[in-house]
């Protein structure tokens, strides 16, 4: 038998050609862009330097937060805009996004960046007033109390994303990290009820590559994301974990988790160790809800108007009540693509 060299080269070129498109890196099977190791090192440095000292939000009542996944923003950011509007209308404490926020072209990220700036402006307008000196204070608080005064640079728009696989193709990490900076971080929400504090913990993981990578595994095992539960002498009431790649498979028609077996078991054990209340995932563009060892796993459908053109329940809102009980609901999105 003779297998012609030209035949092999031709077949390889056909294979590469067929697997090439905007969403798939043609040599993605073999090599990576900015690898998870470098992303996590960058994210952790940023988190340690800029986020760790300012990582607690304080609320004095029950609160809600809104989660979306796989928006794949291209030229029409209507669904992302709708997510921000829904959160603003419902006074959600924060937004979380589960990755694949935009397809990786510079113009899409320019659109996304503008959209987030506008949403930030609307959020600030709703929640803060401006003092004569240009600083802000929360509406309803004493403007003369220096503790309430916030400089414009210190205003936080509570939008917390994780990176997805489509965010890192074609060196998309450069664009993603330019806006969002970190894909590996955690923070607390302090809830002051009747003079006492309850604490909820939010953890964000970089699972875009289908693996945590050695650096992230080491940091998790070192306890970098465990929070300061013991140091501060309190126990977390709830822990919420956010990542891109799905843990469970919605059905045989959808893609399974791409975590290899050992990593799947490592993660399931880690979520249990963190005593997670809910783990949120995306990636697979299909809804799935299940319980495993006391942890709720919610896999969100894609909120992208390309993937789901019709209105539907693509977001999830979690209610954390005063007494500590949790509930969640699907949130309907109405936006449909503008006709060209």
């Amino acid at each position: 038998m003779k297998l012609s060299r030209n035949t092999i080269i031709l077949a390889a070129l056909v294979a590469i050609g067929l697997s090439s498109c905007d969403k798939v890196s043609p040599i993605g099977v073999l090599v990576s862009g900015t690898a998870v190791e470098d992303r996590v090192k960058m994210s952790n440095l940023y988190y340690q330097k800029y986020l760790e000292e300012d990582k607690a939000a304080l609320v004095e009542d029950e609160y809600t937060f809104l989660i979306g996944a796989d928006s794949h923003v291209t030229t029409d950011p209507g669904r992302m805009d709708e997510m921000f509007a829904l959160g603003l209308e419902a006074d959600d404490l924060l937004y979380a996004h589960l990755g694949d926020i935009a397809d990786t072209k510079p113009q899409y990220y320019i659109t996304l960046d503008s959209l987030i700036s506008e949403a930030r402006g609307r959020y600030i307008e709703k929640h803060y007033d401006v003092k004569e000196n240009g600083n802000y204070y929360p509406i309803g608080s004493d403007p003369n109390d220096p503790d309430n005064e916030i400089t414009p640079d210190d205003l936080i728009f509570p939008f917390f994303p994780v990176v997805g696989n489509h965010d890192i193709t074609h060196n998309g990490w450069a664009m993603w990290s330019n806006i969002f900076h970190s894909s590996f971080y955690e923070f607390n929400v302090l809830v002051k009820i009747n003079g006492k504090y309850e604490v909820d913990h939010f953890i964000f993981l970089d699972t875009a590559s289908g693996t945590l990578g050695k650096t992230q595994v080491d940091l998790i095992e070192e306890g970098v994301l465990d929070g300061d539960e013991d140091e501060e002498g309190y126990h977390y009431r709830h822990t919420f974990v956010f990542g891109h790649t799905n843990i469970f498979r919605p059905s045989s028609m959808q893609f399974a988790s791409t975590f290899a077996r050992e990593e799947q078991f490592f993660l399931l054990n880690q979520f249990k160790k963190w005593n997670a209340s809910i783990v949120f995932c995306g990636h697979v563009h299909a809804w799935d809800e299940r319980e495993f060892e006391g942890v709720t796993y919610l896999t969100l459908d894609s909120m992208s108007e390309d993937n789901n053109p019709n209105p539907g329940d693509y977001l999830v809102r979690v209610h954390v009540k005063k007494d500590g009980t949790l509930s969640w609901e699907k949130v309907h999105m109405n936006y449909t693509r503008k006709k060209k």
């Binding site: 056909v14 690898a35 077996r261 050992e262 078991f265």
Partner: protein, 239 residues
Amino acid sequence: MLRNKSCFLLALLIMMMPTIAVATSYNGDHSFDGTHRNEVSGYVVGGSNVITGTFVGFEASYVRHLSSHWRVGGDAQMQFCKQLYSIDATAGYCLPVKYGHLYLDGKVMYNRYNRWNFNETIINLSATWESAYVDFRLGESLIHYQSVGDGYTEPLTLTFGIGANIRHRTNPWNIGLFFRNYDDFYYENWNINWGIRWYAPLPHDMRLFGEFNIRPAGSMSQLATKYEGSVKLGIKYKW
């Protein structure tokens, strides 16, 4: 995403076609050779994994050819560091055809992932078409894993793999490439292993064999990142 993966597999099939057309009849690598009814083999495996770091392990296999068509066997492995212990039982039917052999195989496997306290049970049914230079496998796996408190059964999972050698399979030595979503003791979903396999003759009906196996994380558009790399080195004996 699915369309692109399908296209990629289709392209690989196209690549195989010229090979299939010129393949000659031969005695299949896993079929009864007419003389030796028993095969025993063992290998040492070592590598590095994102979760567990460096690991080493041992494997042992036995195959009994009951007839020219039927065979049964069993495999076991111990991987230290991972604390992975596995055992399986296999049965297969071999159907020689003009340009190769068609194997229909069933496997029942149990894995104990002791480090994370998980037990995994897998049932796999596969059809393998093996010619002188290439082999192609398609099948389905039913995977169930169980921790202390809970269990999960994956929906049916596709098994697929192709391999190609540079020499005719009856040659005493050979070297080739493989591309598949399974290994001896696991069946993945869309995670693909690929690497180099080889064998060489030893005296007294023995054969030296080995594999260099790259196990990336994720697949296709997930920009595969290294998950595990391993090397196997073993000896097979027939009598």
